[in-house]
Symmetry: C3
Subunit: 335 residues, 3 copies
């Protein structure tokens, strides 16, 4: 598959593209460990244009570019530093910066910024997160981590835990999972942070759709619904609950997210909720031996550090997988 930009998880709503990507990411991991990475991007330059800070995501993309033989231009705070403060439009900035590089990795606080950038850009745009919008490379590294750690995605039981109302990574993952067969999802959250209705409708609709749609490729027209139909192979079930302990023994994957204080009106509610959704030694006892624990990071108190030493704690490996997914994406875009 030939990619022009990477803007939304929907571009990967096709099992074949995903598998191609996973295999390439896996190759890069092997090459990296042997310290023999083909220098596919020799002589190329990516520009990290971050309108809001995200050191980890930036480093991950830049490391990917450098390991492929490329070079990077970088700004940590494009909003303050660039001519944005003089009133220049995002579009103008992107057109100019595109003259100095071969790809732009953009992080922005506004939904849709990456798509606006792509419309005028001379070079490929990679969306490294646009506000409450998309963060497609995170979604891809998440699903890649499941594939790599568990060995398959079809048939898995996956719990999503924490702030399902705002959690962007959760929303993206829900978009990708219907591509696989017989998935069962447990949505575990305090009632204040339940998943929005639209995602439940999406899952129900997916479940009833015909497998024939599998290879359909989503249109990228500007007015498309965020949850427009994508390919689906089979049935997908979901349950909502507040009781994590009842869920833990049944699952293959636990995807935990951060519960942010600022989401709560009452501090009391926050304290109650915060403590009842912590993964600790007791949770480890309930979790099956072959399951994995994921987290998009940063974590604060939702996973006790004691869990880190358990082999099932996959979150640091998950972060590292971001490097290989990004190498694969950069290669697919530029080489």
């Amino acid at each position: 598959m030939r990619l022009k930009h990477i803007l939304t998880t929907q571009q990967f709503s096709d099992k074949k593209t995903l598998e191609e990507l996973f295999k390439l990411a896996n190759k890069f991991e092997i090459w990296d460990k042997k310290r023999k990475i083909p220098q596919f991007l020799k002589g190329m330059i990516s520009a990290s244009v971050f309108y809001e800070p995200s050191t980890r995501t930036r480093f991950s993309f830049e490391s990917a570019m450098l390991k492929l033989g490329g070079e990077v231009l970088t700004t940590e705070n494009a909003g303050h530093f660039s001519s944005a403060i003089k009133g220049e439009s995002l579009e103008d900035s992107i057109r100019i910066i595109g003259g100095y590089c071969d790809a732009i990795v953009i992080r922005h606080y506004e939904v849709g910024a990456a798509e606006r950038a792509a419309k005028v850009s001379l070079v490929p745009i990679i969306n490294a997160g646009d506000g409450a919008g998309e963060h497609p490379t995170q979604a891809l590294l998440d699903i890649y981590t499941i594939w790599k750690e568990v060995g398959r995605i079809d048939g898995l039981k996956i719990a999503m835990l924490g702030d399902l109302l705002h959690g962007r990574t959760i929303h993206s993952l829900i978009h990708l999972l219907p591509l696989f067969k017989n998935i069962e999802i447990f949505l575990v959250s305090p009632k204040e942070l339940k998943i929005p209705q639209e995602y439940k409708s999406f899952l129900r609709e997916r479940n009833s759709r015909n497998a024939a749609a599998f290879l359909e490729f989503p249109s990228l027209a500007p007015n498309k619904s965020k949850l427009s139909p994508a390919g689906s192979l089979g049935n997908i079930k979901f349950t909502e609950t507040e009781d994590i302990n009842r869920v833990l023994p049944q699952i293959d994957v636990l995807y935990t997210t951060r519960i942010q204080k600022e989401r709560f009106k009452s501090l009391k509610t926050y304290e109650r909720v915060k403590n009842s959704f912590v993964i600790d030694e007791k949770s480890l006892k309930l979790l099956p031996k072959k399951s994995i624990i994921m987290h998009p990071l940063p974590r604060v108190s939702e996973i006790n550090p004691i869990v880190d030493n358990d082999q099932r704690a996959a979150y640091f490996r998950q972060a590292k997988n971001g490097l290989y997914i990004r190498m694969a994406l950069l290669k697919m875009l530029l080489a």
Copy 2:
């Protein structure tokens, strides 16, 4: 010509040096398009030492360095971040940083900072703008853009539009134009933003000077006047006006600049002025077919985005030319 530092447009007050530079910049553009740039600066390092932010200028220099095979050190906010806040002098900072690199690209808020840096530096200094002072590489990319887009500079009719009082790029361009034959300049601005008297005196003086001065090279003594005599080939005319529409049909080049709100005492005056100096579809109808529209960017509302799609809109190509001019300068300084 052997350059030691790049501090002021005056160092290029010699047609031969300019032409050498233009031809080299042009070569780099061709090599870049073929993706076969000779790695002249392999093993060399430039340091971007920016005391005030300018992401675009910084990226342009860094991209130039990287494309030539070099590497970069970079700081976006040297004023806040370096030992400047501990009271270290600019001179000390430059002496130390010069030990870690092969060239320093400096941006500073104080007039004369680049020259002060050059006096103590162990490595070439490139002035990337020093306050209201000089921004020589911008002036060079501007004149290069005219040369490249129109095919010549001699005999051109050039309108300068907008804030001619503060516009540093306009002032630099006026300094370079007398090197060419039979130039006619239209200075179009609201009366609040007319060009300073000294530039008119300079143009009048140029006009009366003898062509014999052509190869004279300006001294770079510290106390020299900003407008000291430079070489001139022939007569140069200028007219001041507020009426852009009368000027548009006669010109080869329209150089537009940003009108900044903060320059006006009265908001009313600003609003009137802002609207009467906008380039839009109507302006395109008045402009000759073979003319070009330039702008140093960022632009805000002074050029309507609808103009962008017209072939005469040269401002994004102009920004890109900055890359090739900077590659040529880095090569001339370091290789």
Copy 3:
């Protein structure tokens, strides 16, 4: 010697390791001057993770990495920009960043941060200063500068001038000097800024210890005293005084430090002290011809700029030596 991390000056409390380091640093200087540096770190990436700004130190490390053929990831303000503000622990940040690079150069405002980082890091940690704690590469470049400039360290008379109470570089140097024979130290400071008692006890203890301890290697256990016994060859003398002029004629090395206004309760005291500890033309007349003047920089008014042109002013060469020491350390850690 095989290094795993560089955390504290104590790791170098062994004359042999120091000499190995000095010789390697010297080789890098020669190679650099010939522009023929072996590309020992080709394909490797270091990450500068600076929680507080220090442009000079950062540039010095990054230049070292680039000159060795490596690449760099960089953040100038990890504290503000990274997920630290979301509450992520330093340990988590380090584990994740370690997945994207081959070494982490960390600068932090908290004592012990580098050691905490080293405990969880997948890659070597280099301490580039942790608050009032350690800055081992500065100590190493200081002692290297003496070795290189004077030709030996044994038998030298060294004055330490200025703020001996807070001066981290002075404290580290005192830790290393007992490794050499027959050193005499003059501690010259205003009485408000005298060296802490513990350093005097350390020097007295060193003096009475047996040369047999020479090859002993300090344990790096977490609870070790900052001044635990290290190897010592011979006797070391020290004198405290306020009178710099009496000291100047007797010394081989003058190590000056900055006296910071904010350390004084009374502005009057500061003004008196500031002026009585300035190195100027008169000081140069008192100093022996073969002596050297050092300063960790930045300097403010404690060395008059007129001194800069004297051959004995070694402080800019000292800063440059930081490059070669850091190249040697990176090579020892990574190649």
